[in-house]
Each structure stands twice: as structure tokens, then as C-alpha cells.
């Protein structure tokens, strides 16, 4: 037996206790490779490759624009409706994709989870980052559509959009981390997420205006509209629209009264947005606590 005396012996410790999300960032190299693998593998073997990541959002956008905008006439109530949709769609799709892929992440990587000890938060975090990378094509489309329809830079473009993104990222991570743990025990959670994802695009003022929601709730108790506005995704969508859509229409003087009304955003967007991010971080902290407890028996559940 040859024992190397030159290196001081590390102390005895319990294996299998990770440092949570913090630990993930200590494994940045692995995180980078996992994200790169996902992106490489996704379009492997297709002729168009990354081109597909543009086709899907374009298809989604076309359906909304043609059906809701032209056939149902939303085009006439909201000026520059195309940008109104795309500004919301980019972030909403980032959230739905992140929510479902994080929820499934631990289960999908079960062969690793039950054999090798890694900080398990690695899987939801890399799933969220992959969704963030997939946000890029949506943003490119958004930049083009906004650019050709008279967008001009305003001081609040960057803070507005970043705050909207921060809402989606913190809530997506928090909910995803929580559900990825539960999903190991009962796969029903991934089905619940699938259902929620169908509802999400309709729950935000992306293919309709906040003004229409206000009209619908007029004369009803205040808590109803407040409940609608309490949805973090609603704030995030409006922040993104404030950055990319408002500048394309706010200087037009040919707007009808109903079009003018559709320009109105929810009050105190920044304040509310910051509060929502703060709540999201609190939720993330709570999700980490729960995840750490659930994680203890992942290996035998999978």
C-alpha cells in the first residue's frame, strides 16, 4: 500500500450532500457542456438545422396574426398588432419552454441521477439556460419586425425588457425547480405543466389588449382585474411591449380612440415588476429548500 504523504488528507464527510444552486455554478464547465449538448442534439440530422428554431416562432406568430389579427379583427383595435404579439410571444415562449423542460429535467436525466452524484440542480438550471438560448431567434424576429415598423430607441428599452426577462427567469426557475423534484415522485406533475402551458399564452395581453380586459371587467369587483394583473407573466409581457411595441406607435397621431386606449399599460410597471422579481426570488429560495428534501431519495425513486 502506497499512501501519498505529501498531500494533507481531506477530512471525512457525508457524501451525497450538495450545496444546491450555488454548487451548480462551481461546476460551470459541466453546465456549459450540458447546455451545448442539448442545443447540438436538438437539430441534429436535420437539413435546416438551427433554421427550425426560426420556423416554429414564425408559424406561431402567423397563426396569431392571421386568425386573431385579421379574421377576428384585433388588428383594428391595436395599432401595429404584429409587434404587439411578437414582443409578448418571445418572452411567453421562453417561459413555457423553460417551465416544461425544467420540470422534466431530473426525470429525463434519471440514468445519471441514479448512478453518479452530481448537484442535481444542474439539470433544471441547464434546462433553463437552453430555453434562454432558444429565446434568441424570437428576439431576432422581434428586432426585425419592430425595426421595419418604426421602432426607435427610448431610455427604458433595456431596463424594461431586462425586468420582463428577469420575471420570467426567476419564476420559471423557481417553479421548474420545485416541480422537477415532485415530478420524480409523480409524473402527473409534468402533465399538469402541459395543461398550464396551453393556458399561458391566453392569460397574457399578447394577442389582445389590456384595455379589452378592463372593459370586460368594468362594473365588476376590483379584485377581478387585480387578480388578472397579479399574474407575473402579464407584467413581463407588458414590460416587453413597453420596450419594443410602444416606441413604434406612441408618436403616431392617426390613432382612433380605441387604438389610443390600447396603448395604456398597467400602472407602476417597474415597481410591480421589481416586487414580482423579489417574490420570485423568495419562491426560488423556498423551492431550493423543498428540492433539497426531495432530492434525498431521488436515486431510489427513479
Amino acid at each position: 500500500m502506497a499512501t501519498s504523504d505529501s498531500v494533507p488528507a481531506p477530512s471525512l464527510r457525508d457524501p451525497g450532500y450538495g450545496g444546491g444552486l450555488v454548487d451548480v455554478f462551481r461546476h460551470r464547465h459541466l453546465l456549459k457542456l450540458l447546455v451545448r449538448k442539448e442545443i447540438r442534439v436538438r437539430y441534429q440530422g436535420s437539413v435546416l438545422g438551427m433554421g427550425w428554431s426560426y420556423i416554429k416562432p414564425l408559424a406561431r406568430f402567423s397563426v396569431y396574426f392571421v386568425i386573431i389579427g385579421i379574421i377576428l379583427g384585433m388588428n383594428r383595435a391595436i395599432p401595429n398588432f404584429a409587434v404587439h404579439i411578437v414582443a409578448g410571444m418571445a418572452l411567453v415562449h421562453f417561459f413555457t419552454e423553460a417551465f416544461s423542460s425544467t420540470t422534466n429535467s431530473v426525470w429525463r436525466n434519471r440514468s445519471l441521477v441514479r448512478k453518479i452524484f452530481l448537484p442535481r440542480e444542474m439539470f433544471p438550471v441547464s434546462a433553463l439556460l437552453v430555453s434562454a438560448v432558444n429565446l434568441v431567434p424570437g428576439l431576432v424576429i422581434l428586432a426585425i419586425v419592430a425595426g421595419v415598423t418604426g421602432w426607435h430607441p427610448t431610455w427604458d428599452v433595456v431596463p424594461s425588457f431586462l425586468l420582463g426577462f428577469a420575471i420570467m427567469a426567476t419564476w420559471g426557475m423557481a417553479l421548474g425547480l420545485l416541480l422537477s423534484g415532485f415530478n420524480v415522485y409523480f409524473r402527473d406533475f409534468s402533465k399538469v405543466v402541459e395543461v398550464i402551458i396551453v393556458l399561458i399564452p391566453w392569460s397574457t395581453p399578447m394577442i389582445y389588449s389590456l384595455d379589452l380586459v378592463r372593459n370586460a371587467f368594468a362594473g365588476r369587483p376590483d379584485w377581478m382585474i387585480e387578480l388578472y394583473l397579479a399574474n407575473p407573466l402579464v407584467e413581463a409581457v407588458m414590460l416587453s411591449q413597453q420596450a419594443f411595441w410602444s416606441p413604434t406607435v406612441d408618436q403616431r397621431d392617426d390613432l382612433t380612440a380605441s387604438e389610443q386606449a390600447s396603448l395604456e399599460m398597467a400602472p407602476h410597471l417597474y415597481e410591480r415588476g421589481l416586487i414580482i422579481v423579489a417574490i420570485g426570488l423568495l419562491l426560488l429560495w423556498f423551492a431550493q429548500k423543498v428540492f433539497t428534501r426531495l432530492e434525498a431519495s431521488f436515486a431510489e425513486q427513479l
Binding site: 499512501t3 488528507a9 471525512l12 464527510r13 457525508d14 461546476h27 464547465h29 449538448k37 445519471l112 431519495s297
Partner: protein, 252 residues
């Protein structure tokens, strides 16, 4: 001597859920059958492994060997008792864990090495050594999908033995590939132990392997530690078992 792995009255229980859907649960409950059973996979096991020791864990299928290995690696946590390990844990637990078919051999080396805890720099320095050991130079930029199962396993082994760690956990089936490569594997593992002074914790039901690699052997029977001594005596102890299968019946 310093201890490397300490198991102190470790127990692990597994729960078998008989009914997974709501419908089945209701039906079983109506018949008065239990919804779940639990059993001990590992029961009150205590032992210590010294640093630099190479220890073999033997036992029949279902005796709790793999569970004990998972407890040592931290993949599972004990229900009772305490597991303590000194230093980083590396292992030949699942060769090629996380290999992805659509990535090239090169990409998979980096990914798999990162999963096993190697930094980018460590992987770069050891890359040629890994590829050389596995003997896949010509195919390193080919998708791993086109590799034969032997090539995959050789590459998996070559990466795993480079993983940094004071404690090396090895699950059965460690020696992979054809006879010459198997020999290379065994030599490499002995080198890790005898030259580099790493602790080896080997799980195997091959008496031959344990005898060739280990200087101490444990035998598990139905989750409990039944024997602790030299590999030679361990073999005798196991031969005493009436239902002992022939050693490696397919290995002529």
C-alpha cells in the same frame, strides 16, 4: 492509518409500491392488500476502509452490494447510521454515463469527463492518454453512434480511470472488452491502488477479480455483513455456501 470510508451501522430500506395509479390503489385497498412493502437492502453494516486499501465487496445477486456502493458514492443516503468518506469520490460505476449518440467521441470525452468531475484543463491534458488507452484514435471525430459496443466501453473505461479522486468505487463489469483489454483494465486498476495510493472499493461477484485486485474482502448476505477478512478466506467462506454458482461459467 487514516480511514478512507467509514460505515457505521448503516441501514437502507426500500419501499415497493404495488399500486401506482389511483385506480389500482383503490382496487388493492378494497381487497385489503397493502399498498406498499418495505424491505432492508442493507442492514446494520459497519466497517472501515483505510486509505490506500483495496477492498472487495462480494455477495450474491440481491445481497445489497450495489446499494452499499451507492451509499458510499452519495447517490443514496442511509436511512439509519452514518456514511463518511474522505476526499473526492471517483468511480467506474457506469461506463460512459451520459454518452450521447449524436455527439462525436471527442465531444463525449469532454462531457463524460466533466460529469465525472474533471475540469476542462484536466481533460485537455489527459485527452491523448484517454484516446490512446481506448484505442479509438481513428474514430475520435466520428459520432459515437457508429462505435461498436466494445469501443464505447473502452472509451468509457479510459475516461473513468482518469477521474480525479482519492476513493475509487468500482462496480462489477469493470473489466470490459476482449481479453487483452480486460487485462489492461485490471493492470490499470492495480496501478491506481498500488502506485497512486488510491483507495479501491470494488463490488463484484467474481471471486477471481477480487482475488487479483483486493487485499481485503467483505461478503454481504441479505444486506448484512457476513464476512470480513482476506480474499482467500472470503472465497472459502462463500464456497461453504450451498447454493454457490460456479465461478464464471462462461469464462473458459
Amino acid at each position: 492509518m487514516t480511514s478512507s470510508i467509514v460505515m457505521d451501522s448503516v441501514s437502507k430500506q426500500f419501499t415497493l409500491r404495488h399500486a401506482k395509479t389511483l385506480k389500482r390503489m383503490v382496487m388493492r385497498a378494497a381487497k385489503g392488500k397493502p399498498l406498499k412493502d418495505s424491505f432492508y437492502a442493507v442492514r446494520d453494516v459497519s466497517f472501515e476502509v483505510e486509505q490506500g486499501e483495496s477492498i472487495g465487496l462480494m455477495g450474491h445477486n440481491g445481497s445489497g452490494k450495489t446499494t452499499l456502493l451507492k451509499l458510499a458514492s452519495g447517490v443514496m443516503r442511509p436511512d439509519e447510521g452514518e456514511v463518511r468518506v474522505r476526499g473526492r469520490i471517483a468511480g467506474l460505476v457506469e461506463l460512459g454515463a451520459g454518452f450521447h449518440n449524436d455527439l462525436t467521441g471527442r465531444e463525449n470525452v469532454f462531457l463524460n469527463a466533466a460529469i465525472l468531475g474533471m475540469s476542462e484543463k484536466e481533460t485537455r491534458t489527459k485527452f491523448d492518454q484517454i484516446v490512446d488507452f481506448a484505442g479509438v484514435e481513428r474514430f475520435i471525430d466520428t459520432e459515437i453512434l457508429h462505435y461498436s459496443s466494445g469501443m464505447r466501453m473502452r472509451l468509457g473505461f479510459a475516461i473513468a480511470v482518469e477521474a480525479p479522486g482519492e476513493v475509487f468505487l468500482i462496480d462489477e463489469g469493470l473489466a470490459v472488452g476482449d481479453a487483452p483489454f480486460k487485462k489492461k483494465c485490471i493492470t490499470k486498476i492495480k496501478e491506481l491502488n498500488q502506485v497512486e495510493g488510491r483507495t479501491i472499493f470494488l463490488v463484484s461477484h467474481s471471486v477471481k477479480q477480487v482475488q487479483r485486485i483486493c487485499d481485503r474482502a467483505l461478503v454481504l448476505e441479505q444486506g448484512s455483513l457476513a464476512f470480513d477478512g482476506t480474499p482467500k478466506e472470503a472465497v472459502k467462506f462463500m464456497r461453504g455456501d450451498e447454493d454457490l454458482e460456479d465461478e464464471d461459467p462462461l469464462d473458459f
